[in-house]
Every structure is written in C-alpha cells, then in structure tokens.
C-alpha cells in the first residue's frame, strides 16, 4: 500500500477479471475474527469489502476492520453508508481512512435503521449515495471539501465504487440510475447478489448498449447458498433481492445442500463469464460461510490471482 495505489484498480485496469469477497466485522471489539477470515481468504481474492454496520446492526467500524485486514495483507474496500453520518462526519472518517492506507471506497445509502438492532435511532441521510460519490470525487479531482473549501494538504484519492441493484424496481430506471452513479464519478460498481440470471443479462445488455461497462468496472455479485432455508429467507425477507423458485427447489431436493449451493454459484459464475458481456469481475458475498470462498475461486478457474508489483 506504500505506493498509495489501489491494487483492485490496477487489476481491473489490466483487463483481468477481479475477485473480491465480503467480510462482516464482528459485533465486538476484538479483531481475532477479522484476522481469521482474512487468513482464510489468503491469496484467493484481490480485495475484501468491509461492510459498514450492514442491516443497521452495530459492528466494528468498517475503517477499523479495514485496517486490520490491511495489516494481514489483503486490500480492503471500505463501505461508507449515508445512514449514520452527516457530511462532516463522513469527510472526517474519509480523511482518517485514507491516512491509514485505505484506498478503495464503496459509497452506498445503507439499509434503513429499522432492520437493525437500534430501530429507534435517528437516521441521518444528510447526503445520498449519488451525492456522496460526487463529493468524494470532488475531494480527489478538485482537492476540495464537500463545501468547496480547498485542502491545505494531502487530499484523499480513493478508488470510488458504488452499488447497483438490477433486481430493484422500477427495472427500466435501474440502468439510468447506474449511469447516474457513473456520471457522479463511480469508477467501479458492485451489483446486488445475482440469482435471476435472465434479468441480470437484460440489465447488462442495456449497460453495454450504453457503453457503461467501458466507463466503470462492473463486478457481478454472487452468493453461495448454504441451505434451502437460506434461499427462502433471501427470497422472502430481503428487500431488493430476487431468488427464483427453482433455486429454492433445487436446494431443497439436493442430497447435500451445501454442495448444491456451491454448484449453483459455480454455474452462475460460469454463465456470467461466458454469456454476459461487460462484467469485469466477481464479488463473492458468502454470508456466514467464508470458508467456501477459496473453493469457489479455485473451481471457477479464477485462481491464481494476478500479482501486481
């Protein structure tokens, strides 16, 4: 990290498929679990996303956890949500994060607090994700604070990412919204977990037709399912997610559900690699199943990962 460059960016720039995984920080103050997960991921991923109090549950800060994984040798992608901070706190955290060696930033609005363990909290949403992207780019491109005031020292030069959800509605607006994020300055995009390949394919066709894949690197989100119950949960209880019935059925009928879940994920990666144009890499979100990531990376032919100086 001494070079101050994002390895993720360099890999994407080189045209090779990137692989990232997701790490959820612990609900306590020990880094032990983070360190374990990082070691597990080893050299199977190019970077790891650190969620920012996902589903509005209090966890170790994304920046704090990011520094732990950085020490263990994996490049973090720190998530920054708009739910909990106003523009003063966001900028302050970003300066701190950059000073600690964090180079990748994923900007998102964040899940509403009613899903989490503090549903009576006051939310902030001072800026939204698109405004955040633009303002973070303003910091790096124009060396200006959100307010327009100039920096009198090092400006944070993050590789700026955003999320896109092809499975949210209205579908016809989803590509427009992605374009809006790219116009705001997003350099890479991470999609919501894909199960509905048909809808994802249509989404990517529209992106490619507009040349969006050439203006930002699009990473396809995949989530291996551990059981049919997990599939049913995502299908019924997670807003903005589409899980087709036959996936639930396939898992339910399988002799070994975990094995089947892994197979489905591998098939999806293969399909996306071979049939869907415009995808620059994969983001593996192995919810409470981090051990499976190395296996998936190996079996899908994405290993070994490229080495950057």
């Amino acid at each position: 990290m001494e070079s101050g460059k994002s390895k993720l960016k360099q890999i994407l720039k080189s045209g090779r498929l990137a692989v990232t995984a997701e790490i959820s920080p612990p609900k306590h103050a020990s880094a032990e679990m983070i360190v374990q997960q990082t070691r597990l991921l080893g050299d199977y991923v190019d970077a790891a996303n650190i969620t920012d109090c996902q589903t509005a549950v209090v966890r170790m800060s994304s920046i704090g956890a990011g520094v732990h994984i950085l020490r263990e040798g994996i490049e973090p992608v720190v998530q920054m949500t708009c739910r909990d901070r106003n523009r003063i706190a966001i900028q302050s955290d970003l300066l701190g994060a950059y000073s600690l060696g964090i180079r990748n930033l994923l900007c998102l609005s964040g899940d509403h607090q009613m899903f989490g363990n503090h549903p009576t909290a006051k939310n902030v949403y001072d800026v939204d994700s698109i405004q955040l992207i633009r303002l973070v780019r303003r910091m790096k491109d124009e060396k200006l604070f959100f307010s327009g005031e100039a920096f009198n020292g090092q400006e944070p030069r993050f590789f700026v990412g955003a999320v896109a959800n092809p499975f949210a509605d209205p579908f016809e607006y989803r590509v427009d919204r992605l374009e809006k994020k790219i116009n705001a300055g997003a350099e890479f995009i991470q999609t919501q977990t894909i199960y509905d390949l048909e809808r994802f394919t249509r989404f990517m066709e529209m992106c490619v037709a507009r040349g969006l894949h050439e203006r930002a690197y699009i990473l396809a989100g995949v989530t291996p399912l551990k059981s049919w119950r997990a599939a049913r949960f995502l299908q019924t209880s997670v807003p903005g997610m589409i899980v087709p019935d036959d996936i639930v059925r396939r898992l339910k009928n399988a002799e070994n559900q975990q094995e089947e879940g892994k197979n489905i994920c591998l098939e999806q990666i293969k399909y996306i690699k071979e049939e869907v144009k415009g995808v620059s890499g994969f983001h593996i979100i192995a919810i409470s199943w981090p051990e499976v990531v190395p296996d998936i990376v190996k079996s899908s032919g994405l290993y070994p990962r490229p080495v950057i100086d």
Partner: protein
C-alpha cells in the same frame, strides 16, 4: 395541517397527580379537525381524568374551555380568568399551545396532553398521512409533486434506492416507495429526463439549524407582539 394525537390518559394523569384542580384547554385549530383536541375530546379527557382520580380516592376538579387557536396570543389572553385558581393547565393543542400557555402564565404548571406528530393530509375520514417535513427548501418541483424528504424513508434526493421493489419501500410492504411514485408521475408527464440529473445535497440549514425559524410579513405586522408569549 398539524396532526397531533392524545397521550395515554394514564400518562397525563401521572403529570397532574399532585393537583386538585386543573384547566383543560382544547384548541379550535388543527387538533379539532383531526379529532384529538377539540371541544369533544377536551370534555372526554376531563371526565376520564376525573373518573380515574375518583377511583383512586383523590377527586380532581376540572374546568374546560377551547381556545380558537392556541398558536395566537390573542386567543390565549382570553384564558386569564379561568387560569387564576387552577394548579395546572392541560393543553390539548399541538406543541405550540403548551409553549404559548407556559410563556403567558409563567407561574403555572403547563402539561401537554398531546404528542404532536406531523404535517399531514386527510386520506379518508379519520386517516391522515404525513406529506411534508417542513424542510424549508422545497424540492417538489423536481419530483413531480411528491415529497422525497418525508415520503422516502431515507430522504434520498436521487432515488429510488436498491431496496425499492414492486412499488414498495424496503422498510415495509405497506409503505409506497416515494421514488417509484415520483418515477411513475414523471413518466406520465414525459419528464423522466429530470431523474437523470444529479440533485446536489440539500441545504438543511433551512430545516432545523440556527434556532427557531422565523417568517415576517412586514406590511401586516401589527401592534400585537408575539414575543410576549415568551
């Protein structure tokens, strides 16, 4: 209109435990329209408090009246004689009423019987919904006349977020996604291009910073000095 609902009787009773005689002041404004603080509700609350206290063996004396509006000093002035011998004044107005009463009757204990909720519109008789958060910097003209500040759970100005599905908000399948509504409306108007523009961060300083907001219309400012309420 300001929508306010009554606090539970037990809670209100708790505040006036030590009082023997109270004045209940209803309001003829918004709370009369939303059926929570008008004449009828004031009488009902008074009798509920009396019954409760009788059951507890500590009778309460109540006097009731309704101010035309508690948010204007001239209507509060009229309460002077009624206030004189009571131990507490219970206001059934929105949050402005108790503050005006406390400002005028500085030595009186003023209790609010209400939870002031939101600025709403009537959907049906007996059903109100929030439409405006009084943000002071209205964006309705960009959003097809649908307020994202209040009607979107995240107050997003560049929506819809990734949680919008089947027209509903991620927080609840019974809540419309404001941005789906905005999208549909702009589509009808042939103005979907508006949604491609990046709306800059909002000037929240017009919303709730810098102490209470003020509005002055010089031409009609009269001798009655609203400051005297405080």
């Amino acid at each position: 209109m300001i929508i306010a609902e009554q606090k539970p009787v037990a809670e209100i009773a708790g505040y006036i435990e030590s009082c023997n005689k109270v004045l209940l002041v209803g309001c003829g404004g918004c709370v009369t329209v939303c059926l929570t603080g008008g004449e009828k509700e004031t009488e009902i609350l008074a009798s509920a408090l009396r019954i409760k206290r009788r059951q507890e063996g500590k009778p309460l004396e109540t006097v009731t009246c309704v101010a035309t509006r508690q948010c204007e000093p001239e209507y509060i002035d009229a309460l002077d004689s009624a206030v004189r011998d009571v131990d507490a004044i219970i206001s059934l107005a929105c949050g402005i009423g108790p503050q005006y009463l406390a400002g005028r009757y500085k030595d009186k204990y003023v209790v609010s019987a209400m939870n002031t909720r939101f600025a709403g519109g009537a959907k049906r008789h007996g059903f109100w919904e929030e439409y405006c958060g009084l943000c002071g910097d209205c964006v309705l003209n960009l959003t097809g006349g649908i307020c994202p500040v209040i009607r979107c759970a995240k107050s997003i100005l560049n929506g819809p977020c990734g949680g919008s599905q089947n027209g509903k908000c991620e927080i609840n399948r019974d809540v419309d996604c404001a941005w789906q509504l905005i999208h549909d409306r702009l589509k009808i108007l042939g103005r979907l291009d508006t949604l491609k523009e990046i709306v800059p961060p909002k000037d929240w300083s017009r919303s709730r910073d810098g102490g209470p907001r003020k509005m002055v219309i010089e031409d009609v400012m009269s001798g009655s000095n609203p400051e005297k309420a405080n």
